[in-house]
């Protein structure tokens, strides 16, 4: 099996074209106990995130001066892959991912605002189908916003690969296993800064700009989707508190958001119903 099939002018195995993201669905405020929480689906990768804090540093031994201590914990559910197995928490691979995730969100959180305090972020991969890291970053961003933690801007992550000369965005698990260089980028899309970048294989330098551009474009697209989802969430929350009128969104946007909402409720009963596109192409 190749990354690109030979028909339809080079479709990917799941029917996407190179520059197309998987379908993204997300929801904010899914828990009530945490200060902020979010759930995101990128295709079949599903991640739950919860944020606690800012609160005083628990472990007094750790001295933090001037900035906030960010504690990021990444884990995968027992049932998250096809094969069921218990995953030890805190093994090397997990702590490495946790570390990188912390690095990604640290770039966006205004750490100087809450000195001598800590923020705990927990993400759990419920279902893994490629791009776990990316979905975790995106979920964390949503949860941080839900928690009202001041951020410079969203930090958004997206992966990209290369098939022949065609860059591919948002790599699924199948595509990960088929080989090819897998570039994961966590970026601040508005300022165009890159927070974390990781490459799984050797890639010739000549190709890097193209793949990187592709990943950044993916980040920007995801950013737009997350942004819409957050605004929609705020309308809902605000509406419930009778503050709805304070948001001055254009009529059109409101309608669109309404449609999205309706459709989201329906889709659980009938998967095959056509969805209104959330992805900007």
């Amino acid at each position: 099996m190749d990354l690109l099939t030979e028909y339809g002018g080079g479709l990917r195995n799941d029917g996407r074209r190179g520059h197309e993201l998987r379908k993204i669905r997300c929801r904010l405020g899914v828990f009530s106990q945490s200060d902020g929480s979010a759930y995101i689906e990128q295709g079949n990768t599903k991640v739950l995130a919860a944020v606690y804090g800012p609160r005083p540093v628990r472990n007094k031994q750790i001295k933090v001066h001037g900035s906030v201590l960010i504690n990021f914990q990444y884990s995968m559910a027992v049932f998250s892959t096809g094969e069921r197995k218990t995953r030890p928490r805190g093994d090397r691979k997990t702590s490495e991912i946790s570390l990188q995730l912390r690095q990604a969100v640290s770039a966006a959180i205004m750490t100087e605002v809450h000195p001598r305090s800590q923020i705990d972020i927990f993400v759990e991969v419920l279902q893994a189908d490629g791009g776990n890291f990316c979905a975790c970053v995106n979920a964390a961003t949503l949860a941080l916003i839900d928690a009202g933690i001041p951020m410079r801007e969203y930090v958004v992550a997206c992966s990209a690969s290369l098939a022949g000369d065609t860059p591919l965005v948002d790599i699924s698990h199948l595509e990960e296993t088929l080989g090819g260089p897998n570039l994961t980028v966590a970026a601040l899309p508005l300022s165009g800064k890159v927070a974390v970048m990781e490459l799984s294989q050797k890639l010739h330098l000549d190709h890097l700009p193209r793949v990187l551009d592709c990943a950044l474009k993916g980040c920007a697209d995801i950013h737009a989707i997350l942004d819409t989802a957050i605004k929609q969430h705020l309308i809902k929350v605000a509406g419930a508190r009778g503050l709805g009128k304070k948001f001055h969104l254009g009529q059109q946007t409101q309608n669109k958001l309404k449609n999205d909402k309706e459709e989201e409720e329906e889709e659980d009963d009938e998967m095959s119903k056509k969805d209104v596109e959330m992805i900007t192409l």
Binding site: D14, R16, R22, P181, D206, H207
Partner: protein, 974 residues
Amino acid sequence: MLTSKTFLKKNKRGNVLKIVREHYLRDDLSCGSELCDECDSKEAILEKVPTSNSKQYTVPHYLLLDTNIILQQIDALEEPTLCNIVVIQTILQEVKHRSSSVYKRLKDLITNPNRKFYVFVNEHHHETYVERNPGESINDRNDRALRRVATWYEEHLSSHVRVILLTEDVRNRDLATGEGLLSCSIASYISQLTNGEPLLDKLSKIDAAVETSVKDSLYPLHATPTEIHAGIKSKTFLQGSFQASRENFLEGQVNCEGYDKPILVQGRDGLNRAIDGDTVAVRLLPEDQWSAPLELVLEDEGNMEDDEGGEEGKELMKKKSVPVAERRPTGQIVGIIKRKWRQYCGILQANPMAGSSRHLFVPAERKIPKIRVETRQIATLSTQRIVVAIDSWPRHSRYPQGHFVRALGPIGDKDTENEVLLLEHDVPHSKFSDLVLSYLPQMPWTITDEEVSRRSDLRHLDVCSVDPPGCTDIDDALHCRPLDNGNLEVGVHIADVSHFIKPGTPLDDEAALRATTVYLVDKRIDMVPGLLSGNLCSLRGNEERLAFSVIWELTEDARIVDAKFCKSVIRSRAALTYEQAQLIIDDPSQQTSIATSLRGLNRLAKILKKRRMDNGALVLASPEIRFHMDSETHEPLEVVAKKMRETNSMVEEFMLLANITVAEKIFHEFPDNAMLRRHPVPPPANFEPLQHAAKRQGFELNVSTGKDLATSLDLAVKPDNPYFNTMLRIIATRCMLQAVYFSSGMVQQSDFHHYGLAAPIYTHFTSPIRRYADIIVHRLLAACIGADATYPALLDKKASTALCYNLNYRNRQAQYAGRASVALHTHLFFRSRVQDEDGYVLYVRKNALQVLIPKYGLEGTLFLRCDSPGVSWTYNEKEQCQSCGNVVFHSFDPVTVQLSLDRSNVQHEKLVLKLVRPVIDGYSVPSVGNNTQDDDVDMVGEKNEAEAGGTEKEQGDCDQPETKKRKKKNKKNK
């Protein structure tokens, strides 16, 4: 815009996994018709108004093909008659899954713009995707998907152009008709065509008739797949590959995994329609019914009409009482698991009934049964070599049924026989397609400054190449110069083929498929198009070329201080032949930089060679010959043995050094994916014949390690028989296993060893023009030094294992084809000659002597017949000798034999050996003298004429031990 749909898929990987994959449906996929203005017109391939040649369907129409049509009728589809065809993705995937060869041929059709094949992506089209219903089989679902596409096209094109669904599946046809679609079988469609006549011969004859009554059946029923599966699970059946006997058409054996001895199968019932190469299920008979192989040559003399006959079969079945000791496990084939049919070359045996269109086809390969074909062109075809494909083998038919594919040319013609040879060895040899050629660089080609800036500029170095005369594909060039610190710098520069062949392009795919350039006696089948092999890649003298260089710093005693790798630009100062290089080295008056460079190389090479020999590298021997051809008729004029010069071994040593250095480097960087080459240590049992043969001559060979073997071979010299040592080495070569390519992640590091070269790690780097493995190694090395990018397949263990498998297979086939070509030319050479030659007995057999004739590098069988009075041969198994009266033959004894060609069988001409000396009354023949022809063969060895086509250069890579010579002469007893 995209819509998403999730579906479930279960995969088995040890335990059952539930795999969920997303499946996106789109609305931007084109229907591919020029008629349509809704869809993307860029992709439109199908004609707006297709002309209809059908008497039945006069409306313009497109054809929609079902899987069964493609799999069975690919020969007919390749005829340019049918055009405007829609192939849907579902079917394409099914074809790919079922037969990779048909898939490849279909892909060729699809890329051919004249044929107007369009691939419609139905599985991702939002209006044609169908979900599998609960309880519905995959096949039914796919049939439904096909009908859905047909319906969609009819609606989409508003029936301006109709769609005809071609399928052999009656049920599918009925359902389609029920849904208001046009549908028919391919045979009925073609029969209604005004221009369909030539297609009819090519139609595959699938006997639709269900198994006829038991009375008519000649063969037992095959077990169903479910029964076979259950049988294998319960160990009542064994699975293995069927190997037909060359001598007896009613005998064969099945090699089963997990069963150490091959299982013998005999008779029509036992073979039960298995054809050589098929994977079969076999049932072992109870031990009291076991039998032994018949020591008989049985040729199938049957012709068309005697279906009921087959007397010899019945006789065979009458079991003679076989001594228990000789009995072998015997079984009966109960079912076919996988057919391995291919296309076969051969000739037609005309039906004795004049005017009949049904004939028998006799394949050139003796292991393949005769095949029934139907053709109306018997008059023209009976003198031709033709190609036939098998379609089916019904129970009531004595022979399999097939159809005519194409004619190759007149029987006995050299070009035709070459073609047969290539086809029978599965050597891809068609012209490079336009698609492939379109990936070649534009001419005139120059090296741009930009390209130079990316490379090391080595044009100032005095590089030269040394090759056999007439070589046009120069892979390698060398240089050597002293460094300031007293060490020497040696460079091996290899043609940078991977610069021109980018991964994943059709050019690359074609080269990967061909895997190697095949050298026949009078012909070279290139792996890459001539523009590359003979020009742009070839490191010609005084031309700037791109190269991949390995540059060492060596001490005076040839120890490596440092090795560097770089992509470079070089300008070879001279393309020398081995002989020219030798002359330059030997002529002290030559003091040019090339001359000093060559002398330096030569000196280092001798040190390297000595070190290699001390490490236990083997010097093996195989009779190597070449033909001198008449430049006009291209008939072989004479045969001479190849000559080795010091310069041959000079080039060889540095190629080996480069290969080993590169192997270490790529293995270090890519421990899991490096493409390497290993030569396994032969099991000790392989050496038994060699040890026995040597022992009878009073030599004890130690075979425990390669080094021991090398040393003891060196010591085994008989002053009175100078050829003795060479013969020992020839026999030793046949004890070896084949060297193979492998991916380093798939084999334990301890098994990387190259036995023949006594190297712990080895690969092929130095001949990328003629070997695909070298291209892969180039790419790996380029990735190591950051000169090029990797790509998924390069680092995918599975893909590289599959690639290695193909490379090994093609290499073997290329070797066999090369030998068959030598055999063919030997035959052509002896057509007009009867000659006496000196030879040596290589092996003593039960009824024959295997005689080696050094002059022709030829091995023949001298049958020891007892048909004349007073002649009787006694075979002494213990002593391995044959005696007749007071004449005794042992291995290595000199003999004189008379060579001539027996042309009684048009398909299988054979060389006949008759004994001349020692004289045995009533058996030996009188000498004919050595001058039947005017030319004196002995003289020619010294002359140096252009080697035909630059055959087999760089013997240095002699890591290809000859396996058992395939030139098996026909063993015909009594």
